[in-house]
Symmetry: C2
Subunit: 291 residues, 2 copies
Amino acid sequence: MNILVTGATGFIGTNLTRELRKQHNLFVLGQFEGDHEKLGLPGIVMTDDIQPLADYIKSNEIEGIIHLASLYLTVHTPDQIKDLVFSNVYFGTAVLEAASIAGTVKWFLNTGSIWQNYNVKGPRYNPVNLYAATKQAFIDMAKYYSDVFGIRFCTLKLCDTYGPNDTRRKLFKLFKDYSESGEVLNMSPGEQKLDLIYITDIVAGFSHLVDLLANDEKLSDEYVLTSGHQIPLRELARVFCEVSDRKLNIQWGGRPYRDREVMVPWIGVPLPGWKAMVDIKKGVRLFLGED
Amino acid sequence: MNILVTGATGFIGTNLTRELRKQHNLFVLGQFEGDHEKLGLPGIVMTDDIQPLADYIKSNEIEGIIHLASLYLTVHTPDQIKDLVFSNVYFGTAVLEAASIAGTVKWFLNTGSIWQNYNVKGPRYNPVNLYAATKQAFIDMAKYYSDVFGIRFCTLKLCDTYGPNDTRRKLFKLFKDYSESGEVLNMSPGEQKLDLIYITDIVAGFSHLVDLLANDEKLSDEYVLTSGHQIPLRELARVFCEVSDRKLNIQWGGRPYRDREVMVPWIGVPLPGWKAMVDIKKGVRLFLGED
C-alpha cells in the first residue's frame, strides 16, 4: 500500500516507519525541509498552499494516511494557543482537504489521547487539558471529510508510551537521569496510576489498525491502546530500581499533584486483535538497553 | 450586568446590542480598530496578545460574554480553511482563555448553527459543511474552559435569520433585487424547507438566554431557535410576491441543488420560554419596510 505519514520524525513516527516500510510504500509529509531525507523516505513539505499536497497524494496514489503530527503541551500558556490550534486542528484538516481533492485516499488513521477523557466513569468527552481539547476538535473537523468524501476515519487513542531514544522528557528518562546524578527528585505523592506501553507494542498496534482499515473491517470511530495494567507511579519507581539495580532518591510529595492530575487512566474500547507483549519489567530493561 | 460582545458589528450583533444596551453595560470585542466606536460603545480590539483582553475583562468586571463573531462560508475553498479555523476555532478559544485569566466571567453564550446537524433523524453531530464543523470544534475547545474554570457555556443554534439592513446576500434580498430588475432568477427545484426567523425574534431569543444564564437557571448545553414552521422555498417565493405585490421571474430547477442541500432543517431542543412572534408574512412586510 501507498501510505502517507505525518509526524514521521517523532518518537512513534521513527519507530513506526522503520517497521511499516518493510511492507508498504511510505511517503512522509514533513513540517520542515529535510524531514523525509532524514528518514530516507520520499516526502513533501507542508506549505500554506494545499494544492501541491493534493497533487502529491494523487500522483503517488496514496491510499491511506497515518496522522501522528501533534503539538503536545501538558500545560499551555496563552501565547501557545495559536500554535496548538494550528498544529492540532488546522494541520490535519488541511491534510484531509488535500486527500479529498486527490480522491485516492480510502482511510485516515488519526492519533488521539486518553486525556480526551478525564472522567474515567463516563464515555463522554471531558478533556484533561487544552491539548486534549484540540485532539477532540480535530476529530470533529474530520467528521466533515469522512461524511462527505467517505474517507474511513479512525482514531487510535494512546496512553503513555516509552522506549529507547525518546527525546521527550518522560518518566523513565527522568528516573535514569536522577539515578545517575543521585540528586533528590521531587515528585508528587505518587498515587496516580499510569498505563504505559512499550514502543514496539505501540508500533504493532498502529500496524494492526492499518490492516483493519485497509481490509475494510467494520470498525468503531476510535480504539484505545491499553497495556491492561494501571500501575501507581510509586510502584513504577520501585520496578525501575529493582530491574536496573539503581537507587532513586525520590522525595514523594515534594511537589503537589498537577491541577487535573490523571489519577486513573481512561480505558475506553481496546483495539481488538492486539495485545501488549512487553510487560513493565521487560520494558524497563529494553529502555535501559540491558536486554 | 457587564457583558462583552464579539461580532457586534454584524447583522445580529448590531440589532442585539441596540436592544441589550438598554438594560446592560455592553463592551465590544472588535476585530478592527473602530468597531466599537461605530456602535457608540466602549470596546477593545483583539490582538495576538491575549493578556490585554484578560486585563480589560477583569478591569471592567465582565460577567458574561456573547460570542457572535464568525466566518460564514457555505462552501469553502482550500485556501479559506486557515481563516475558517482561525476565526471560528482559535478566536473564541482566545476569548475563553482571557476570561479564565480574568476570573470574572460567569457565563459564555455561544452561537451555533443547525447546520451542525445535517441528519435530521439523529441528535448526533453531522456537519453540513466545513463551517459547521468549525462550530462544533469550537464547542470542544470550550468544554475545557467550562470544565476547568466553571464558566457556564451554552450554545444557541440558529437557523436562517432575516431582516432589514442585512448586508448578507440572503434569500429575501435576492427576491427584492430580482423583483426590481425583472431578470430571470435561476433557482434549485425549490422543494427544500427553510426555518426563517425575523431579527427581532432572534434578538429576543438571545436576550432571553442571557437572562437564563445570568440567573443560574439549570440549562442544557445547547438550544435551538426555531420558528416552529418549515416552509418550502417555492412557498416563500409565493408569500414574497403576495405580500409585496411584486412579481418574480424564477426559473425553478434552473440550477441544481447544492451538494448536501439541507432539505429539512434540524430542530433539536427549542429554547424554553421563547417563541417567535413575527410570522413570515409580517416578517416580509417588515423586511420591505412596509410595516
